[in-house]
Amino acid sequence: MKKWGELALGVVTSIGGFLEVGSIATSAQGGAEFGYQLAWVLLLGTLSLAILMEMTGRLAAVSKRTYADLLRERFGYRFFVLPLVAVFVVSLLVLTSEVGGVSIALQMATGVDFRWWAIPTVLVGWFLLWRGNFSVVEQGTAMLGLVAISFAVGALVLHPTWPTLGRALLPSLPAHDRARYWYLAISMLGASISPYLYLFYSAGAIEDDWTIEHLGVNRITAGLGNVFGGGLAIAALVTAALVLAPRGIKVDRYEQIALVLATPLGRAGFVLFIMTLFITCFGSTLEIVLAIAYLLAQGFGWSWSENLKPGKDARFSTSYTVLILLAALPIVAGMDPLSLTNISMVVTAASLPVTVIPLFVLMNDGDILNTHVNGWASNLALVVIALFSLALLVAALPLQLLGGG
């Protein structure tokens, strides 16, 4: 019975954790400019993330060590510096974007300029990290994050043409603006597959004391949770395709995205959009800041746990305290949250190889996983993900220059 509870919770967590500022913004841009056509990117991103989460979760449940632990232990400090720096920088950028998303939501709700909201946002976030334990952060944001289902409701109310949507789940080439198309594809992939997601997930498996008995829970959580989460991202794309595209609106401000729910659902839709933006971005803020602190603590061997009082892991709690405050500064300085989000998503996509390729080595190490090493199908999937992550790395900069903005 307890296990089913955990399962339900896990699934809810991944739904609530999936949609955040990056997915909302890039899916809306994709839908507004190319209709349903980019839906395949979300399918690809969702499948990839599900596979990566299942693997890092399995790694943690079997070895009792997190992915970051094993990156340092098996590859040595010299190599570890590379994923450490890459994930640190990328996640800090995404973190700032999330704080921006929360601030914009509060600006839309109150009319007070978003810059004023960054500091209160991070202070409240910090307080929750300081006082709350891991379950509070994980389950709290997950439960509230279910408000994101309003995107699915919005999409259904708009009556999408299913056969067209179905066909868009297979890749196709754009008829116009090729550079912009691929730029948005990369941004959407970066928004779906963020390293912080699987680093947080594997640390969470340790926080929740997972063992080999949780492998089933892990598989279903990673699979089902991402199916729902990815479904919501596709719903966001569909609403944008049906609301923004016909009106010729290209998204260059967050306020425009509110139309995708306000049009089908009226005033309630506007309120739901603000709530979704606020809650999902706030939840992601907490998860990302923890993910970075986990990475540092695990990489350097410090004491760490969100379930310990801060005095018991001073370096860990100092890390999240400093990081969350740092993330507010660019927003206070008035950086445009949407541009910041777009840049963060592309940089995220470019950073994927350094965390995806080492995973292949670890998932085939019998010393770590015994009989739970990857089978041929998992290996094939991981090779495919690794190859396209390399393509993202190569293509990111040229496409940012050609198709960004």
Binding site: G76, Y77, N133, G301, W302, E306, K309, A314
Partner: protein
């Protein structure tokens, strides 16, 4: 007698003290060379300087620059004799008191001067 692979099983492993508290990782291993005796694994080094040296000279230079920036002249590094090793498994247990290690300087400093001053920091579990 099982064989121990120093690079695979020891370097970079998580270290815990006798109370199972995490106290850093094996940043460097030193061999002891004495005239007339065979070399033996003698010392586990825990510390940022040792870590930085492994990456390269430029990293070590950066490390020293950061230290200088914070006005720290001494390198807070622990050298624990290999004899203190009690158990090598997922983690390596050392028969030492974590609180007494010099490499825990930053942890202690933050615990007393920063984190400890904020209400709600003390206690065991949340």
């Amino acid at each position: 007698m099982g064989a121990l692979q120093l690079v695979h099983d020891v370097i970079d492993s998580q270290l815990v003290d006798r109370h199972q508290e995490k106290i850093g990782r094996v940043d460097e291993l030193l061999l002891e060379l004495e005239a007339g005796k065979p070399p033996r694994v003698a010392t586990i080094v825990i510390g940022g300087g040792a870590r930085a040296r492994r990456v390269g000279r430029w990293m070590h230079a950066c490390h020293r620059a950061v230290h200088a920036l914070f006005g720290q002249r001494v390198e807070h590094e622990s050298r624990v004799p290999f004899d203190a090793v009690r158990c090598i498994a997922d983690t390596i247990e050392l028969d030492v008191e974590g609180d007494a290690l010099d490499s825990m300087h930053v942890e202690h400093w933050l615990a007393t001067h920063v984190i400890g001053r904020i209400p709600g920091a003390s206690g065991e579990r949340k």
